[in-house]
Amino acid sequence: MTSLSFLAAADASGLWETLGQYTLIGLTNGMLFALIALGYTMVYGIIELINFAHGDVFMLGSFLALAMINVMTGRDWDWSDPQMLWLGIGLLLLVVPLFCAALNVTIDRVVYKPLRRAPKLAPLVSAIGVSFVLMNVGLLWGGAADRHFPDLISRQNLLGDDAAIGFTAKDLMVVAITVPIMAALTVFVKATRLGKAMRATAQDPVAAQLMGINIDRVIALTFALGGALAGAAAVVYGLYINTVSYQMGFQNGLYAFTAAVLGGIGNIPGAVLGGLVIGLARAFGSGYVGERWTSALVFVILIAILVFRPAGLLGARTREKV
């Protein structure tokens, strides 16, 4: 609880090794949060809506991944063969993000789009409503209990069995999938025509319209991208954590949203940074303070940071025009 457990943990296997291990766990988890947080932040950046349903899109994505794996296993897909394994994961990473993107775009079209001019809290309540609906769909699909997600990737330590720090094939998988996705997103947003249009719309929608940018299409694109990222995160999450439930969207969504706000909501690098900070906070928290205080600690850090940087870590303060 206090300093004693700190010492106990340190005694077990050296102060620096423990620190390194926690850092590694924190970064890996943080990347997952970041992937989800990006969806929140991009949507917020463009239409200033906290999309409460985002976490549930993620949840449905992992259910789809689970269903697909079950079907594929039923048709004798050989997951133990590395080639087939990576091919299978590739297939999941293709289908699930597509599904989540389509779902997210549909939600925007049907629910949020008619409310663009409504009072600000109305879309928020709608988003809560969508979240409930999706959660219920998840409940009907997967049942109320936690479901086991097949343990397809080995937990063998890649650094050798008796290395002081554990870095398993699973950890590698998370890094190998999330880092390229984030890099691709960065390139897309920075360098492509549509990516620039997205940023332009987020910064000044009226001016963007005057440039001939079709805002509705940009918004749809944003929802699609956010959904696809959530889908990818869902696959990675399932393979990494191995437990899925209809309520996981809420809890992970909460952390991801916190990550987005921490980094400065609407700011894409900020979401990644926020995700990593939260991941690290959780890892160090459970390592040094105690598992049961972890969640509280994350929010205490959040509050402390926001008190001193009211617009998040990377957010810019805006001067009010008088």
């Binding site: 917020y44 200033e48 906290i50 629910v111 008619p114 409310l115 409504a118 009072p119 809290l121 109305a122 879309p123 928020l124 309540v125 709608s126 809560i128 409503g129 969508v130 979240s131 409930f132 609906v133 999706l134 959660m135 219920n136 769909v137 409940l139 009907l140 049942g143 809420f250 909460l254 949203f257 916190t258 706000v261 909501i265 049961r292 205080w293 969640s295 509280a296 994350v298 929010f299 205490v300 959040l302 509050i303 926001l306 008190v307 009211p310 617009a311 998040g312 009010e320 008088v322």
Partner: protein, 374 residues
């Protein structure tokens, strides 16, 4: 209904109040409804009154002052737990109900101020996430301070209030037993009485200087400060009042339930439901808030179990297929209802309108000297 004018509306309010006062006294409807639904509507109404107090508190913060507060359930929980700690027999304090009520209210209000003070300069969604975070921190803290809060089990039994002796005789005339555990009506009238008190006080405040300052801050904070309004103080007062009312509701809740319930009864979902209540009803509108609570909590606590019972009773689902139980569809129906309502009434069902009609009858007449020079 929304078009009734002021002179007509007040009799309507009195009418509803009379109905609510009379309901438990006419034993027949309660019994008939109980036979029909197997739910004590009177008891559920008691909870609706309690949630109404909670929602009114939230409405002060979100509706009047425009500060998006996503952690109101935490203050509800804090109220419940303060009451629990102060009254359960396991601890030596065992204060009376009135003292517990006052201390719960004050404690929650104080915590609200402590949370509000450093976060006053946060805007909109950032404040929302901080309050949300505070709510979660509170829940985890309640869970983790096992020695004090008994962890996930919650503190119990919370004893009922002491009934003043003078009330025993008049109550017996009305056919009410003076025993809290036997007759729900004592809690019913306690909650209703406090709710009416809160509504009256809030109505007065709404029309006072403070109420105007709240709304002015919501409408345009900068202009309000340029008019000499101390924004920090006004926002803090809204926080204190909102959180205090939540604490008061929490105290009532724990007393009615005779237990603080576990920390998870005060999670983010509860906050969200309360927020939905006030937005659905119409932000900043007392009547809207009450209506929102009746609709949403009523759906959750009354309609859903009743429908579940009906489906079971009709025996369409002999095999226990989970797809055919109502509770498995509850969230979906709830969600769709929220979406549809926001689509067609984004400003809420009974939006607040400080309209001409409310101030009808008052046409200020200028008199005397125009402008006092200084």
């Amino acid at each position: 209904m929304s078009n009734t004018t002021a002179p007509k509306r007040f009799p309507m309010a009195w009418f509803y109040l009379a109905l609510l006062v009379a309901y438990p006294l006419l034993v027949y409807p309660e019994n008939a409804l109980f036979r029909l639904t197997e739910i004590s509507i009177g008891m559920q109404l008691t909870y609706i009154f309690i949630y109404a107090i909670l929602a009114l508190g939230l409405n002060v913060v979100v509706g009047y002052t425009g500060l998006l507060h996503l952690g109101i359930a935490a203050f509800f929980g804090i109220g419940a737990y303060i009451t629990g700690i102060l009254t359960v027999p396991a601890y030596p304090f065992q204060v009376g109900f009135i003292a517990a009520l006052v201390l719960s209210t004050a404690g929650a209000a104080l915590l609200g101020v402590l949370l509000g003070a450093p976060t006053l300069r946060l805007r909109g969604d950032y404040l929302a996430i901080v309050t949300l975070g505070f709510g979660e921190v509170t829940r985890f803290t309640l869970r983790n301070l096992e020695e004090i809060t008994a962890g996930t089990r919650g503190l119990n039994p919370v004893p009922p209030p002491q009934l003043p002796g003078v009330l025993a005789t008049p109550l017996s005339w009305l056919g009410i037993q003076p025993d809290w555990s036997l007759d729900y009506r004592l809690f019913y009238y306690l909650a209703l009485g406090l709710l009416v008190l809160v509504v009256v006080l809030l109505t007065n405040l709404e029309r006072s200087r403070l109420g105007r300052a709240w709304v002015a801050i919501r409408e345009d904070e900068l202009a309000a400060t340029c008019m000499g309004i101390n924004a920090a103080r006004v926002k803090l007062s809204a926080f204190a009042l909102g959180c205090g009312l939540a604490g008061m509701a929490g105290c009532l809740y724990a007393t009615t339930l005779t237990s603080t319930a576990g920390p998870d009864a005060f999670d983010f979902n509860r906050s969200i439901i309360m927020l939905c209540c006030i937005i659905l009803g119409g932000l900043g509108s007392l009547r809207g808030t009450l209506l929102g609570v009746v609709l949403l909590i009523g759906f959750d606590n009354v309609a859903a179990p009743v429908l579940d019972g009906l489906i079971q009773g009709a025996n369409i689902n002999p095999n226990g297929n989970p797809l055919l139980t109502f509770s498995n569809w509850k969230l979906l129906i709830f969600g769709v209802a929220l979406i549809v309502m926001m689509r067609f009434r984004p400003e809420g069902l009974l939006p607040s309108r400080v309209v001409e009609e409310e101030l009808v009858g008052y046409a200020p007449q200028p008199r005397g000297k125009l402008l006092r020079a200084r």
